[in-house]
């Protein structure tokens, strides 16, 4: 087994993480399709796939339930999946949050009080971290059901890896609402905690926020108070799943300086948090081997002779020079990344000239994702 198959051996959860715009969704789909083609039952949970890709895989809009990708699509590509299945689901964070409330609410009345609360309606959509948390919540739920050999999670894009890793903690901390409870009852504990000047502070705050805003928030937290235990327990188990040795975090990035920096940063955070790091996938790489020029060669002269047009040959060589500059940059950045990883767990995928929008495109990516490093170099050189 090589490449991604090697990284994911014995794993039942693969979390693809990284900043926005690096091709994370496509990579997640490609990994899932590749593992399905190798005989596994795989489900990919995704946030917002390209419409053409989703359409070509026969996936409807949001639904929050997983759908099976028609096996005939694999057959059409000449792939024998040997019992493998590909399922996909588009995550609906709000619906997941609502389900979670329904599950934890002690009774129908509490449930409705929360679902109808204006603050809840606001946060279930907009609270920073809620989308991240709900992605993990859904992952956990599917993992509990153990209907799949492998779950691949395409995480919401975030500029900061901590946002994602921190989501369960932040959300439970928020739901506990301890800090705000202090504001609701500005006596006793609150006074002790914050000391002199506290009551004056609260009076200023009340004046600033308007009393009814504080009341809305207060009502929200009261409705939630009975559920805090359930949420905390759940978040604890989600965290256990993330840290499990059968989980693998795969960082997806691009070859430019900034995405590489972010990947390095993300890797460090995973290691610090003792989370299982699998490897890095670098998309859109210009391989050196694709654009190599040997010492002493004069490509412009050679090409001018072949094509019988000096000007055209020179324009082609000018383009080559531009591409070589990009390839040199990519190599430098990837060397830096590889040094940081202290292992050859860096998988490079070339810059393809066309958008990936169907299973055939995913399989093209998989030729690289599932290859050994020398195979990848050879593939790129022969493009």
């Amino acid at each position: 087994m090589t490449g991604v198959a090697e990284l994911l051996r014995g794993k039942d959860v693969c979390i693809c993480a990284g900043s926005g715009g690096v091709g994370k969704t496509t990579t997640s789909a490609a990994i899932a399709a590749g593992m399905a083609a190798r005989g596994h039952r795989v489900a990919v949970l995704t946030i917002d796939p390209a419409k053409r890709l989703a359409d070509s895989l026969g996936l409807p809009e949001l639904g929050n339930v997983e759908r099976r990708v028609d096996p005939s699509l694999f057959e059409a590509e000449g792939i024998e999946t040997e019992g493998g299945e590909l399922w996909a689901m588009m995550l609906d964070a709000k619906a997941t949050f609502d389900d979670l409330i329904a599950k934890h609410a002690p009774d129908a009345e509490t449930r409705d009080r929360i679902l109808d609360n204006r603050i809840y309606r606001q946060i279930s959509n907009a609270l920073a971290g809620s989308q991240e948390y709900m992605a993990m919540e859904k992952l956990f739920e599917l993992h509990q059901e153990s209907r799949y050999d492998l779950l691949v999670l395409d995480t919401p894009p975030s500029r900061n890896a901590l946002d994602f890793l921190d989501a369960p903690r932040r959300l439970t901390q928020f739901i506990e609402g301890r800090s705000l409870q202090v504001f609701m009852r500005p006596t006793g504990l609150g006074m002790k905690l914050f000391g002199r000047g506290t009551s004056m502070m609260f009076s200023v705050l009340r004046r600033l926020t308007g009393v009814d805003l504080l009341e809305d928030i207060s009502e929200f937290f009261q409705a939630f108070s009975g559920m805090v235990g359930g949420f905390q327990e759940r978040a604890k188990r989600v965290n256990e799943l993330l840290a499990d040795r059968r989980t693998s975090f795969v960082v997806v990035c691009g070859p430019q300086g900034e995405p590489i920096e972010e990947a390095v940063y993300f890797h460090r955070q995973l290691v610090e948090a003792s989370l299982p790091f699998g490897g890095v996938i670098v998309n859109k790489v210009h391989f050196d081997s694709e654009f190599a020029v040997q010492e002493g060669e004069d490509p412009a002269a050679e090409l001018a002779e072949a094509v019988g047009d000096r000007d055209l040959a020179e324009r082609a060589v000018a383009t080559l020079d531009d591409y070589r500059a990009l390839a040199a940059r990519d190599r430098r950045n990837i060397e830096r990344l590889t040094a940081e990883m202290r292992a050859r767990r860096v998988i490079q995928v070339p810059y393809l000239d066309e958008d990936v929008h169907d299973l055939a495109g995913l399989m093209e990516i998989n030729r690289y994702l599932f290859a050994t490093e020398p195979e990848r170099e050879a593939l790129a050189a022969s493009r």
Partner: protein, 307 residues
């Protein structure tokens, strides 16, 4: 079509990874060239501007990077502290309030408060009558907004608070913020896209959300990273015909040329799609073949942006 350079407040929005930070600086440079006093606000502590200019991190300070171009990194904690200092009836009290640990808890726990105080600070920067003592007056405030989802959240916050808080200063201030960002004479947004399917689709959605749901004017869509067209279809055919008969560097040159030709064609297609999908004026920006975009690369873009 409205000119984004004539606004006082300009949000640079778009999907992650499309070059919002770079373009924010490019627009800032172009406006400063025209003699405006400009500040570029970062809101996710990226410190992108300070890195481009090879300067120390700026943090919550207005720092001049070059003639007429300032930058600041806005974070919710500092914004809230400053807000309280300004709001408190007695300054000393505000300062005491803002030093209290209570506010770390408050920002952590109140939904949307981080966004509200952030946009409050952005608004404050755009005022001619600055609330901050001895505050500098800017002609243009540019916001390097967070990626699509969170960016919309940021712009939506004032309206949300104006609805949730029925009375009191928060309500009236949130209303004032909302009125400012939906005033098409004062505030605008530009959307940055890349010539790929997803960013183009997302630009269409983003424009609809900004204009129809939030009431924010979208002044321009910038299609970033467009490859040059160095080869005609005929050129490509002739190169393709000899691809098999050359090797080494010549073959690599053919491959690079054909790749660029294919990408340029794909880019043209996406530019057409974008033009058909969005109502705002679409401007294209060239791909800069440089390993990393430094000040010179951004100057090139600034010249294009100003056209």
């Amino acid at each position: 079509m409205a000119d984004p350079f004539e606004k006082r407040l300009l949000f640079v929005t778009g999907k992650g990874g499309v070059g919002k930070s770079t373009l924010s600086l490019a627009i800032g440079m172009a406006a400063a060239e025209r003699g405006k006093r400009v500040i570029v606000c970062e809101v996710a502590s990226q410190e992108h501007a300070s890195r481009v200019f090879r300067r120390a991190e700026v943090g919550f300070h207005e720092v001049e990077m070059r003639d007429g171009l300032w930058t600041i990194s806005i974070d919710p904690d500092h914004s809230l502290r400053e807000y309280l200092t300004i709001q408190a009836p007695v300054r000393a009290m505000g300062e005491m309030l803002s030093r209290s640990r209570v506010f770390t808890y408050l920002t952590a726990a109140t939904p949307g408060l981080k966004e509200l105080v952030t946009i409050g600070k952005i608004w404050e920067l755009a005022q001619l009558d600055r609330k901050v003592r001895r505050g500098r007056k800017y002609d243009l405030v540019i916001v390097d907004a967070p990626a699509t989802g969170h960016g919309i959240g940021l712009l939506q916050t004032p309206r949300t608070f104006a609805t949730i808080a029925r009375v009191g200063p928060i309500r009236s201030q949130a209303e004032a913020l909302d009125a400012y960002i939906t005033d098409h004479g004062l505030t605008g947004a530009v959307i940055v896209a890349l010539p790929e399917e997803m960013p183009v689709n997302e630009s269409e959605l983003l424009e609809t959300e900004l204009t129809e749901e939030l009431g924010v004017a979208v002044d321009r869509v910038y299609m970033n990273g467009i490859y040059p067209e160095r080869f005609s279809d005929g050129d490509a055919d002739r190169l393709e015909a000899v691809a098999g008969s050359v090797d080494g560097g010549a073959r690599a040159a053919v491959r690079a040329a054909l790749s660029e030709h294919r990408r340029a064609r794909a880019h043209r297609h996406q530019i057409e799609r974008l033009r058909s999908l969005v109502a705002a004026d679409v401007a294209t920006l060239p791909f800069i073949f440089e390993p990393e975009l430094g000040v010179e690369g951004i100057e090139l873009l600034a010249a294009e942006v100003a056209r």
